[in-house]
Amino acid sequence: MKKVSKKTRNNTIKRVAIAFQSESGGGIGIIFIGLSAILLAFVVFINIVDYSLFTYKRNAITKAMDYAVTAAVQQINKNQSVVGVANGFTEDTGKKLLEGVEIDVDMANRTFLNVFYANYKSYNLRINDNLLICATARRGEKLKYVIKSGTELILEGELENSLLVEGRINQAITQYWPSTEDNAQVYINGNLKTNMIENGTYLFAFINNIKITGLYSERQLNLSSFAGAKLER
């Protein structure tokens, strides 16, 4: 490494000192540096405010979704379900039967939207066309599922195992929104042993690509939530 002589270094310091101390340029230099620092701080501040507003809105939306899904899951279709104490228990063991209790998906959809908007209302947030709802019900050893968006039926059928629901929901998402990216997939099962869906009455809600605006920037999000019917006879 080249050693800088003491003399040269002293000269440089002198020149810098003259530039800042001279009557003509000193004040301007400080104003320039000061204003740049303030501008930088201002930009950082604006970004913090933007992100802070975004996270506040996002948290409120996810909470509204939780309330909405727990409200919607209670919309049991009594005409299609096995109702009554006589039908609700097995004759052999006396245990509660939780099969054949179905959710009215159209009503669940309406309830979801009403409870959601009651909790979070914003003039530029509409989720009606971005909402996908999947209802499951136990039919003997099989699991019946219905996936709808609004009143449009996307997929319907019966599954051998509740593990397969995740695949069906993801299939419905890519089928209904073909341009959806890979990351817009739901993961319900961590692995076979932590399967969160049992063979029963459940409701899943998925909101595809909603746009949340902070102070100025707009971010897109996919949100999902689900709830069990917590049936009691």
């Binding site: 000061g34 303030i38 802070s52 309330y67 727990t70 309830t111 909790n119």
Partner: protein
């Protein structure tokens, strides 16, 4: 002399920015705490079906630590979901009443006093621009009160 002018410009700007940051931070943090508090209470009612008088006092205690909240600034409502899925016709809820599965419970809080952030903006004359601490939560009771 020029340096004095420089500081006359820069220091007030820094102070202004600092003040804005502080007031915004205060508003944001308090608003989040208030929303969380309200959500916590709503969730409890969702699971148990009842909001006791002591729950209400606890809620007011927590809110009063965060802002200027009086008894009348907190409103509780309850009602049923209509057959078309709408939530109209909610009526006021008296703490201690037991709600059944399927009923709707709502909490709405709004502070009496305007937030500091709003006051520092200097448009207090215009009531539509005032910023208050507000939060609401509307949930549906999950607990069935019928005995097996």
């Amino acid at each position: 002399m020029n340096k004095i002018y420089a500081f006359i410009i820069i220091i007030p700007l820094i102070a202004l920015l600092f003040l804005k940051t502080m007031t915004f931070y205060e508003f944001d943090t308090k608003q989040r705490y208030i929303k969380n508090t309200v959500d916590g209470v709503a969730h409890k009612v969702m699971i148990t079906g009842v909001m006791t008088v002591s729950d209400k006092e606890e809620l007011l205690d927590k809110l009063q630590k965060l802002g200027d909240f009086k008894d009348e600034d907190v409103t509780f409502k309850c009602g049923n979901i209509q057959s078309d899925g709408t939530l109209t016709g909610l009526y006021s809820y008296v703490p201690g009443n037991i709600l059944d599965r399927g009923e709707i419970f709502s909490i709405y809080v709004e502070s009496k006093a305007e937030s500091t952030l709003s006051r520092t903006e200097g448009n207090s004359g215009d009531t539509t621009n005032k910023l208050f601490y507000k939060a609401k939560a509307i949930c549906r009771i999950e607990k069935s009160q019928q005995e097996d």
